[in-house]
Structure formats: structure tokens, C-alpha cells
Amino acid sequence: MALLRTTSPHLHGPQTTQHVMQQLLLATVPGLIALSWHFGWGSLINIVIASCTALACEATIVSLRKRPAWFYLRDCSALVTAVLIGLALPPLAPWWVVVVATTFAIVIAKHLYGGMGYNPFNPAMVGYVVVLVSFPVEMTTWPVAQSMLPDGLSTPGLWESIQVVFQFSGSAVDSYSSAYHSIDAYTAATPLDSFKHNNGLLAEQFYDQDAWFVGGRWAGAGWEWVNLGFLTGGCYLLYQRIFTWHAPVAMLSALSIMAWLNFDGGSSVSNGSASMHLLSGATMLGAFFIVTDPVTSAVSHTGRLIYGALIGVLIFVIRAWGNYPDAVAFAVLLMNFAAPFIDYYTLPRTYGHEKYGLGKKASTSQQSLDKD
């Protein structure tokens, strides 16, 4: 018998980082299913491309940094980033968009800042914003939902989708691909976008006219289901105690309150109802998979409430008055900036201390510095 000599504690709880990440991956499944159901294979292909890119980047960088690659890949954090990028990008986006976004996320946003745990900005959102700014056309072209397609048309099958994504040349494919990209029947701006540019219609009228809302009254055909899918996944994660409720609930509440305060009952310049905001765009994906990213959020409960609420407000502000159709990525990145400040001002009160926050400067090391 070789008795182990270790220091206390000698027990460890069930949760490991790997487990957390795996749960996150699992929780994206309902949303992914909804996406695929309504928009075809695109998201899945995105995810596959992003995952391969992410793993390759992670492995390369980690070995460049002379660390054991397997050990770092094991924590699955790169995979989570990849999956989130895959879900956030428009289905059937060209493959290089996905690759650029993912590479940027892993190499620049994550590892250039020191790797896992050190990155101040959410890597997936950095990747997303980079391609959104660089390739606005590709990024604002979403396929329409299955239910909106005219009879006889359906979302492209797996093979066609792959061809579209990789932009294979060859006459038949070419024609299909260009047809796909040009045919209005297949692509459109997102419901949020079209709601914003509603051509001076009252909300009710617009709802009746716009194909998105004909198919889905809450937040546009397909979208509401996608968001409900992510909401389901989020609830699962809450139930599994992967994160606390503070940030997502604060964000969703702030967003609904903002929407409710600004909703004028459906005039032509309406900003959209709370339910539309909650269930459209990347709201739920953001609330449960981005805002809850521990690395880049505030730490304490109060801090997370503030952090989440401010993101909610920002999302609404950018959606309503900004130039971009969706705002989750920008709002999150802006608040990533603010997280350290929030942390600083929400320090807990230590047992046995009267004041909140940090103590006085310690004299000892100060003195030792004087000495040196």
C-alpha cells in the first residue's frame, strides 16, 4: 500500500469543468433541432465546420504554447465556443465565414489573451461580430423558414446544403447555389430586421403581410420555436445548477421591461412587443448560453444581476435605435468591458468585517518593498 499524502480537502464535488461544458453542449440540442427543423441542415453544417476549426486551432495553439494538447482539448471549452458560433451564424453561410469567425474566436479572442479563463471577451461573440462587420451581406442573409416556402419548394437537402456552403463549382451546383442565394423564396432578412423596416405599416397590418409573421405571430415563423428550444436547454442547465439564474433572468426581465415600456400598441414606428423581443433573434441563445459564460461575466450574484440587466437594456436599445438587426453580440461585448467594474463595485462583505469590499492596503509587503 502506498498511502497518498495530500492536503485537505480530500473530497471533491461532482462538478468538473468538463462536465459543465458537456452539459452546455447537451443543452443546445433542442435549439439546434428547432433550427434544423425550420431552416434545414445549415446550422448543423456550421457546427461541424466550426468544431473542426476550433479543435484544430486549439490544438495548434496549445502545442505552440508547449502544453499537452489533449489535456486542454479535454475541457471541451473550444467545442462550446464552436457550437455557439455555429448556432449564431446564419445557416448555409459560406464555409469561410464560419472558419474565419471560429479562428478569430479561438486564436485571437481566447488564446491571445492567455487562454481559457483569461479572456475578457466572449470568444464566440468576438468571432460573430468580426464576420458580421466584415461580411455584412452573408451575415444578414437568412434562409426562410420551411413553413414560409411556396408549395413545391423545401429547404435544401443535406447534399445541396453542403454544396451551397462550400460553394462547389460545376455547372449544376453553380446554378443551384447562385439560384439559392438570389432567389427570394429561399432567403430573407430576419424577422427583426423586416419588422424594423416595415414600410410604415401598423404592426397588425405588417403581421398580416410579412411572411415571417404570417407563419408565426409571436416572433416570426421558426424563430419562436428556435428561441423556445434554447429556453428549454437553459432551463435544463439551471436545473442542473450549471449556472445561477441571476444573469439570464435579469437580462430577459430587463429586455421585456424595456420592450413593454416602449411598446405603443403596434403603431407604424413600434419597437415590437415584449414577446417578439423575447422570442426572436438570438435572445434566448444569448440569455442562457452567452450571458451565462462565467469567464466573461461578473462574478457575484448582485454583479450578475446588474450585468444581465444591462445587457438586456443594451439589446433593446441597439435593436430599437441602432443599425444592426440583432444586438446580442454587441451588448454582450460591451458588458464584457464593464464586468470588471461591476465586480469591483459588488464585492461581498467578508465575515467579521463591517465594510463591503476590499480592505486597507497591507503594510507588510509595502514595507518589504521599501526595503528592497
Binding site: M1, L3, L4, R5, T6, T7, S8, P9, H10, L11, H12, G13, Q15, T16, T17, Q18, H19, V20, F71, D75, S77, G115, M116, G117, Y118, F243, T244, P294, V295, T296, S297, V299, S300, H301, R304, L347, P348, R349, T350, Y351, G352, H353, L358, G359, K360, K361, A362, T364, S365, Q366, Q367, S368, K371
Partner: protein, 715 residues
């Protein structure tokens, strides 16, 4: 039922308590040898009062406390002292330390016991002495001498009995309460009497021990009914959560108050004792039995008969484990204490000591070897569970970066090392290990600062003395020149005027001399203080000498330590003589010379007012001498004062360190040993500083004396 307060954070690790509660408290067969470490407690190790070959009876004193924070050791069974030597002891550092080894004779014969059934007739002092003489220390795992904790400076309004036992696996207190609640209640009554009958007596117990709770409630009721106790005791049960058994946490749960950072609970009028300690107090006072056994939980998957055992102190762990059906092959980690705060043993010969509440022989399933730590993902779980509301992840960053300022800002010192943060950390970062290391480093730095401070001061004083000596020389030279000039001038004056002494001149002279005299008397105060200090040093040296001699006398002839002790005595004697010498030298050199000087000065004034030459030279030399004397004395004074100050601050620090130690114990702090070492080190330093004061050679004084002699020769 009493109101309870919630504490922040906390975790719910699997309890694993049932295994060891299947049977009642079981006996352990008498082992062949008993190994009694001299330091089973926090504080100075006990001093052996037996020597190898002596036969001892069960309960006989074998080592007595050495100082205030120390505890006696008694023979747990009758037999012969086999050796007093270094053996493996249960300690986080896995070191050897001196132990008294007893070979038992199997007869288990008791010394005469003096029970005090009528303990209410005893005074507080008598009760305290009984507790102290019984060698009782905190039984919850920390091992601070209980008598010390029972003499707080503040008056106590609340006595809290800690029956929480929040660590997984451990059931020693639970088992004890189930079977011996009545005795415990009497023990509480005794403690209450010692503490001057606090208004409130609370027993805090987690709600995962319903049997024990009922037993305590019943025992309290029946004792109150039949008048066995006078105090009214409340048993308070609260939700199970680790670490509610930490002293600070329990106080918060039961009273809603927080012990101010860096202070002791006594500041709030609260004293907290472990329930096992209470039982030991009962035995010590009521039955007159010293602390020679305890209840220890032996558990873990590597034991086929887990349970609570009444085990004699000093029983080797392998003997105890053997009784519990220990399978060495299965065992992966052998933990003394609980799985959250205990430490691993790697020598099965290490004995059970006063603070051994649990032996956990964990197999590979219970304690899988941990995974290598991954990066912190800032998930914040650690801060959620921290009972002290710290930010463990921030502490971790700063500990890694060795940023001691930030660590202090983030209150590292308030971390109780409960391990909750490490337990939940999904990246399996050994957070507590970082905190311990950082705390150790900070202590080291603090000491280095002190040492370098002292070195710098020494250097500065040295420099100062050099410059002063230089100045002295110049002044003297100048003065001589001046003197010569004056002499010449006077001579010229005398020659030219050839008149008798000018009265005004005499007046001027007398004024000068009076001023000089005033200066001498003004500085007299400080020599007196110095004298007192030197006298104190002599007394201290005398005491130490007496103590050392006493130790030597008690030391058995064939002991290897005898030579060391002899050397120590010789050294102490040297120091003592030194101090005495210094005192007499000071008396002669300073006081006497000063007195003669002033006497001379006045005598001269009266005797020979006309001898102007003489007077002038006298006046000058007297002035110089006085100036020198004063300067020298100031220098000496500051040097001595420095030492004295150092000594005083050291004394304060020793006291503080003791307090910290006490607190550490109550917190179940793993750093207890470090604290103990700190106290010991400080003690040594204090001694050194006393010697330094005693050995203080007033360099300048010797030269002063020379100056004085010089000037006298001039006269």
C-alpha cells in the same frame, strides 16, 4: 425553539456517517505500547517528569505543562516508561517529535483518584486547576489547551457548546452524546460555573443527528428537574451544512453575530467549547480522571468494522485500525480528522492523540486521486460556497501571482481553510493549498521585515555612534584650544591689571557651574531608569537560571538531553553573572562618578574661588564633560530604549500570536502548527531580547568614564 441564523455559502458533501453509527461505542484491547507525544496540543510541548525505567500507574502525570499555553500528559495505562525519544506523530508535516513511550503491563492499575462529586463547592480557581491538571485540550480537532480558553479577559454572556460535527464521516460526538448525555450536561454545568454562569448556554447541533438531539434535550430536562444542574441549557438544532461547525460559523448561526476579524469570540462575550471537551471536563472534575482516552471514529471503506471506539491516547493507529478490521491493501489514503480538513498519515505507528476525532481509511472509490487542475473558468461557484464571503478565485489569482497586498485586501487572513471552495471548483484547482502556501509566505515575509528592520536599525545606530564619536573628538580638540586661548588671555589680563579677583567674574563662574550642576541633575532621572532596567534584567536572569537548574534537576541521569540542559544552565549562569556585573559596573561608573563630579564642582567653587586659572580650566572641562556625558547618555538611552521597546513590542506580539493561535484552534485551522511555531519562535526571540537588554554594554559610558578620569587628571 431558539432562532437560528443562516450562514452564507456552505456545501453538502455526502455525509457517510451511518457506517460508523451501526454499533455503540466499542472498546479497544489494551495495546502493548502507548506513544505519548509531548506536544499533542497547541502551545509549548509538555516537560517530561518521568525517566525511562520508571513505572507508572494509569492516570499518573508523565509530563507537565511548560508555560501557560501548554497541557499536561498522563499515562493512559499502567506500565513502564520504555523511552523518551522521537517517534512519528500525527501531524500534517509528517515529522517525528519527542514522545514518552510506555510499555503497558496489562494490569491497568489506576492512581488514587480524587473525584469531586460536589463540584459546586469548589472555587473557579480550583475548577480551572482541575481542568488544567487533567491536560484537557480542545477535542474537536484543534487541541488548544481548554483551561486557557476558560479564562477570557472579558465577561462571558454566552457559552456555546459545539456539537455540530459538520464534517462528513465523523460521528465521534454523535456517538458520545447518544450514550453519555447526562455526563455531558454535568460537564456543561461545570463549565458554566467556571465562566461565571453565563446568561445563555446553547448547544448547537445539526439536524442530521436526531437521536443525539433527543438525548441531549432529555438529559437537560431531567437534570434540571432533579436539580442536578443549575444552569438552563438550550439545545438548538439547525440545518445540516458544511462548515457550520466552524467556531465563527456556529456563533453566527446561533447568535447572528460575527466575530470581528482578527478578534476572539470572547470579545462578543462568547466562549465556544466542543462537546467532547465538555465530556472530558466532566471526567476531570466529577470523576477526578485526567484525559487519557477519547472517542475516535474509525471509518472508511477499508475498514470492515467501522464505528466509534473508546481509545487510550497513545494507542498506535495500526492497533486501532486492526481492531476495526482494517485492510491495508484497500486503503488509498489514511486521513486523520475529517475528509474536508483532516491531514493524511503515512506512518501507521503514529499514535492517537487528544485531538484525533476520526481515522478515515479511504479506499480508491472514496478518495480517487484527483485530476490535474484545469484553468479557472471564473464560474464563481467558489464564492457562492465560501462561508466567509471571500472571493476564492480572486484569492487564487493573487496567491499565484504572489501579490500579497491584494491578498490582504481580499482578506486572505479571514479564510478558515474549510475547503468548501476546493470541493466545488469544477476545474479541481487546489485552492486551499494555494491559500495555505500564501499564508505561510506572508508570515515569512513579516518575519523577514522584522529581521531586516532590526539590521537596518543596528546599522544606523552604528553609523550614528561613529559620527558622534567623531564629533566628540572634534569638540574636545576645539575645547582644548579654547581653553589654552583663555588661559593665555587670563594670564595676560592678570599680568597687566595685577589686581585681585573681580567679583563679577566669580559670579559668572558660579552661574556657569550652577548651570552645569543643573544639567547633571536633570539627566539624573534617566540613569535611575537605567539602573532599574538593569536590575530587572538581573532578576529575569535569576529566574531563568533557577528555571534551567530546576529542569536539569528533573532530568533523568541517563537522558541524552542532560548534556544540553547542563550547557543551558551554564549559559544562563554566564548571562546572569554578566547582568550582575553590568549592574554593579553601571552603579560604580555612572552614579558614583557623577556624584563626585558635582561634589567636586561645588567644593571647588567654595574652596578656591581665587584660583582663576584652575577655575577657568575646571569650568571648561566640566562643561565639556557634562556635554559629553549627556550626549553619551542620550545615545545609550536610545539604544537601551530601543532594546526595551523591541522587547515590549515582542511581548505584545507574543500575546497576539497566542491569541491568533487560540483563534486558529477554535477555527479548526490547519495552520495551527504554523501558529504554534510562530508563538514558540517569538518566545525565543523574547528571551533573546531580554538577554540583549541584560547584556547591553554601554560603549559610550566606558569611554565617558575615561573622559571623566581624563578631566580629573587635568584637575
Amino acid at each position: 425553539m431558539n432562532k437560528t441564523w443562516d450562514i452564507p455559502g456552505g456545501i453538502h458533501p455526502p455525509e457517510n456517517k451511518l457506517q460508523s453509527l451501526k454499533q455503540g461505542i466499542a472498546e479497544v484491547p489494551l495495546p502493548d505500547i502507548l506513544i505519548l507525544p509531548l506536544n499533542q496540543h497547541i502551545g509549548a510541548p509538555a516537560m517530561p517528569v518521568v525517566k525511562p525505567g520508571d513505572t507508572v500507574l494509569k492516570g499518573q502525570l508523565v509530563a507537565e505543562p511548560n508555560g501557560f499555553v501548554s497541557a499536561a500528559v498522563h499515562a493512559p495505562s499502567s506500565g513502564a516508561i520504555e523511552a523518551i525519544e522521537d517517534r512519528a506523530i500525527p501531524h500534517p508535516s509528517a515529522m517525528d517529535a519527542s514522545c514518552i513511550v510506555i510499555r503497558t503491563d496489562g494490569e491497568d492499575r489506576w492512581v488514587d483518584l480524587h473525584p469531586n462529586r460536589d463540584y459546586r463547592a469548589l472555587t473557579i480557581r480550583q475548577l480551572l486547576n482541575l481542568v488544567r491538571d487533567a491536560g484537557i485540550t480542545g477535542m474537536g480537532g484543534a487541541g488548544f489547551p481548554s483551561a486557557v480558553k476558560l479564562q477570557p479577559r472579558q465577561s462571558i454572556g454566552t457559552l456555546i457548546i459545539n456539537a455540530t460535527e459538520c464534517e462528513p464521516y465523523i460521528t465521534a460526538d454523535d456517538g458520545l452524546i447518544r450514550e453519555r448525555a447526562d455526563e455531558i450536561v454535568i460537564g456543561i454545568d461545570i463549565l458554566a460555573q467556571i465562566l461565571g454562569n453565563p446568561q445563555q448556554i446553547l448547544i448547537g447541533i445539526e439536524n442530521n443527528k436526531p437521536e443525539a438531539y433527543t438525548a441531549l434535550v432529555n438529559a437537560c430536562e431531567s437534570a434540571a428537574k432533579n436539580g442536578a444542574i443549575t444552569s438552563s441549557i438550550e439545545v438548538v438544532s439547525f440545518a445540516t451544512k458544511y462548515p457550520s461547525g466552524g467556531e465563527k460559523q456556529l456563533i453566527q448561526i446561533l447568535t447572528g453575530q460575527e466575530v470581528p476579524s482578527g478578534k476572539l469570540p470572547a470579545e462578543l462575550g462568547i466562549v465556544c467549547h466542543n462537546i467532547g471537551t465538555v465530556y472530558a471536563v466532566f471526567r476531570a472534575v466529577y470523576l477526578g480522571e485526567p484525559l487519557i482516552s477519547r472517542i475516535t471514529t474509525v471509518t472508511g471503506n477499508s475498514c470492515t468494522k467501522p464505528g466509534n471506539y473508546e481509545v487510550l491516547l497513545g494507542t498506535p493507529t495500526n492497533h486501532l485500525l486492526g481492531t476495526a478490521g482494517f485492510d491495508e491493501v484497500l486503503c488509498q489514503r489514511l486521513i486523520m480528522g475529517g475528509p474536508m480538513m483532516g491531514y493524511t498519515l503515512n506512518d501507521l505507528n503514529a499514535p492517537v492523540i487528544k485531538s484525533t476525532n476520526c481515522l478515515l481509511a479511504a479506499d480508491i472509490v472514496e478518495s480517487p486521486a484527483g485530476n490535474p487542475a484545469q484553468a479557472c473558468i471564473r464560474c464563481g461557484h467558489c464564492s457562492e460556497v465560501c462561508p466567509a464571503s471571500l472571493l476564492p478565485q480572486q484569492l487564487y489569482w493573487y496567491a499565484k501571482a504572489r501579490d500579497y497586498d491584494q491578498l490582504a485586501n481580499h482578506h486572505l487572513a479571514d479564510c478558515i481553510e474549510c475547503g468548501a471552495c476546493s470541493y466545488v471548483c469544477p476545474s479541481e484547482i487546489p485552492l486551499v493549498q494555494y491559500y495555505r502556501a500564501a499564508k505561510g509566505e506572508i508570515r515569512l515575509i513579516e518575519q523577514e521585515v522584522i529581521v531586516s528592520d532590526r539590521a537596518r536599525q543596528r546599522f544606523e545606530y552604528h553609523q550614528e555612534r561613529l559620527t558622534k564619536a567623531e564629533q566628540d573628538r572634534t569638540a574636545k580638540r576645539e575645547a582644548r584650544r579654547e581653553e589654552a586661548r583663555k588661559k593665555a588671555a587670563e594670564l595676560a589680563k592678570n599680568n597687566s591689571e595685577s589686581s585681585s579677583a573681580d567679583e563679577s567674574d566669580v559670579n559668572v563662574d558660579s552661574e556657569v557651574i550652577q548651570a552645569a550642576l543643573a544639567r547633571v541633575s536633570a539627566t539624573k532621572n534617566s540613569p535611575e531608569q537605567e539602573l532599574k532596567r538593569l536590575e530587572r534584567a538581573v532578576t529575569a536572569a535569576e529566574n531563568r537560571l533557577a528555571k534551567a537548574e530546576e529542569k536539569l534537576r528533573q532530568c533523568p541521569d541517563d537522558d541524552s538531553r542532560k548534556k544540553v540542559l547542563e550547557a543551558a544552565v551554564a549559559q544562563t549562569r554566564l548571562r546572569h553573572d554578566d547582568a550582575v556585573n553590568k549592574l554593579s559596573r553601571f552603579k560604580i561608573a555612572d552614579i558614583a562618578s557623577e556624584q563626585t563630579q558635582s561634589a567636586n564642582a561645588s567644593a571647588k567653587l567654595a574652596d578656591d574661588p581665587t584660583d582663576k586659572d584652575q577655575l577657568a580650566s575646571d569650568r571648561a572641562s566640566l562643561a565639556i564633560k557634562n556635554a559629553q556625558l549627556k550626549a553619551a547618555r542620550q545615545a545609550d538611552m536610545s539604544e537601551l530604549e530601543k532594546l526595551q521597546n523591541q522587547h515590549d513590542s515582542l511581548q505584545k506580539r507574543v500575546e497576539k500570536a497566542r491569541n491568533r493561535l487560540e483563534q486558529a484552534i477554535s477555527d479548526n485551522d490547519d495552520n495551527i502548527d504554523a501558529y504554534r511555531v510562530a508563538v514558540e519562535k517569538l518566545d525565543i526571540k523574547l528571551n533573546n531580547s531580554e538577554t540583549a537588554i541584560a547584556n547591553f554594554v554601554p560603549d559610550d559610558r566606558t569611554s565617558d568614564t575615561l573622559h571623566i578620569e581624563d578631566s580629573e587628571q587635568h584637575n
